[in-house]
Symmetry: C2
Subunit: 234 residues, 2 copies
Amino acid sequence: MPIIGMHHSPLVQKFGIPRQPNLVQVPSHIKMLKPYDDPDAFEGLMAFSHLWIIWQTHGNREWVKFKPKVRPPRMGGNAKLGVFATRSTYRPSSLGLSVVKLEDIEVNGGVTLHLSGADMVDGTPIVDIKPYLPYSDAVSGAVSNFAPEAPMPKAVTVDPIAQADFVCLTNQGHLQPSDFDIIEALIAQDPRPAYRQHEVDVNSVMRYRKVDIEFRMLNNQTLNIKAVRLVGSS
Amino acid sequence: MPIIGMHHSPLVQKFGIPRQPNLVQVPSHIKMLKPYDDPDAFEGLMAFSHLWIIWQTHGNREWVKFKPKVRPPRMGGNAKLGVFATRSTYRPSSLGLSVVKLEDIEVNGGVTLHLSGADMVDGTPIVDIKPYLPYSDAVSGAVSNFAPEAPMPKAVTVDPIAQADFVCLTNQGHLQPSDFDIIEALIAQDPRPAYRQHEVDVNSVMRYRKVDIEFRMLNNQTLNIKAVRLVGSS
């Protein structure tokens, strides 16, 4: 199975990755690898607004024996479901499947696909790219009794000090002005595992590019961004 | 990449396979292979009406050198498009992706998934099965400028002799009564390659189970089923 490209995202750790594609319009890109970086291979692709990405769930290499059941995060991490009834990355194929928005195709001595809405971490190896065909892929009347809707985003507040840190890190070139809306939307998804989402006043850290975002839940169930600091600084 | 199951379909040849999933509700099933035939691995799956099937485009083994462009059948077989702008099976990953309807899960000393709407040929090796999540997979507002709609089915007529043959072969147990509607719907998709769809009064043969369906286009653009006969008989 050839690796045709590498995914590059500001989400450099699994913590913070939206639980499904298109929940948050995180910008990211796929840099195609040789020989798959031939612009001819993408002729006609801009006719499609969305793409299917098939990717490798690297990092699961230690997983060798088949486990029929998994604990999907959306179920609170306690309930077990059959692996084929979930999108868990712990599966025999080690293949992930995500629909993303195609923002642009950059041809520049190679090919880079600019995306938004991906739920793949930085450094994810890409196995295939296919156009999203609305008339067959958007199944009208498809039903799921588990996970029937997108999770409701939570309210987010930002401490003035975190706001000031954001401006400062943006001025220093570590963040882009557009990143803050993305970061807020990612925190609003509550990146904490379901079994920890009741915890109040306990700090969590989400890494975005080279910046750590510290946040916690307040008594009123609001998620509060407390600090925004460069990785490695205290 | 483990093969987790095999697809069994009345469509035993590529000719006649619908050009996208769910165009025709062809019944088919996936027989899971060991150790993936554990009923536990499917717990919760019946909550979903539709599934993603990732399958191997076997038979493309001779394809080794990367070809950036392909001739998709929907474009008439003449226009070339970038391989990643198509669902062509001639692609680096050799992976196909289809959404199918889950009709039933049969547990019987193993697991068989009963499907409809598959566009995979009989004998296709299955690599992964994932639930279709309407809220993230059915992208509202997704656009494609190529292949924007399902192809319009053509009118089909059935010669009285073909009708009689169908009844006879059904009585003999080679077909099921429900097969005829499926066969008519498959012919209405006009299985002939796009560059041959103008040909009038030229016979084509679609194989379904152990039966050959002979059809041709009449002057008025109607597709006429001329004969239904057991494979090997004249």
